[in-house]
Symmetry: C2
Subunit: 189 residues, 2 copies
């Protein structure tokens, strides 16, 4: 084993970040699984789009990708159906304690959320401030309103506190965001 | 001199099949693009799920998949939003002139369609009988009803004629299935 210490350090750091980023995704996926099993909602993560540039066929009816690249999604990560309503959202994790950088969201994802709202769907962000251990639902309308009024490239944390809705972490489901959807979107109808 | 002709015939046929199978997907994708551009609906094809088993990093921030496999989708291929309604469907092409084999649809896709209907969404199949040049929308309800009543492993063509809804091919949009959705699902409300 050569240079084990240096290698270990770098790996540890990478694993930590990846793990942290992964946690929100895992929380959402397990929550969606809970919703599906308990017949509450049908919400799935879309597969990561991959461009397969080389494919080999080691056996009949078996395709193996030998070269491929991750491509940019044209929509948000999650969508589905809850109480007859179309639900659509993107999840993001930030390491900042003070703001959420808009670099985290692609323009076409914002355009997508605008269209969802326009066509009568429910569109939002779920943002986790990892170091503060806080997770918020931010309505798509609030995001778009901020973008229309502000020139800043990041949304300050206090906007999440005032205009967002905190989602508490629980045991099961881990992140019951549909309870917030009920409160924010469905009770006011 | 029979041999080369026979071969030519088979090859021609195969090329036709591949091209034709692609056509339905292309027709739907172009139609969805038309709907999106003209602000009629927001319906996307889900990316094909791929399990990346080996990933290399030829440069910083650049990931290259060097080994990956296509995996089975857990839902249908298309979903989205139209007039405030959740839309979900699967597309299939058959070369049979007499029936549509149920082998074409995975069990979990049928379960998914059941859940969509149960939660107030609109779920259906779009099936093209390639050699008859006919494309039908078959309501998820009709499919489930057939599966409950019948032990047959294929849906006869005449059921599409009697209980399905033909979608005419046009210039633009190529396959205006939302006109059928209007007629079948929305006018009766």
């Amino acid at each position: 084993m050569k240079y084990p210490n240096a290698l270990k350090k770098v790996q540890k750091k990478q694993i930590n970040y990846a793990h942290r980023g992964m946690n929100l995704e895992e929380d959402i996926n397990e929550t969606n699984q809970f919703y599906l099993i308990n017949n509450i909602a049908v919400i799935h993560k879309k597969p990561t789009p991959i461009l397969a540039t080389k494919v080999s066929y080691p056996a009949r009816n078996e395709a193996k990708i030998t070269e491929g690249f991750f491509t940019t999604p044209s929509t948000t990560d999650y969508n589905g159906l809850y109480k007859g309503k179309y639900i659509d959202f993107e999840t993001k994790v930030t390491q900042s304690k003070t703001s959420f950088s808009l670099k985290n969201i692609h323009n076409h994802q914002i355009e997508h959320l605008k269209k969802i709202i326009e066509h009568g769907g429910i569109g939002f962000l779920i943002v986790r401030f990892d170091r503060l251990d806080k997770t918020f639902l931010l309505k798509g309308e609030t995001l778009i309103d901020f973008l229309n009024k502000e020139t800043r490239k990041s949304i300050p944390y206090h906007l999440f506190e005032t205009d967002g809705f905190e989602i508490q972490c629980k045991y099961n489901p881990r992140l019951d965001y549909l309870r917030i959807v009920d409160k924010v979107y469905l009770e006011e109808i």
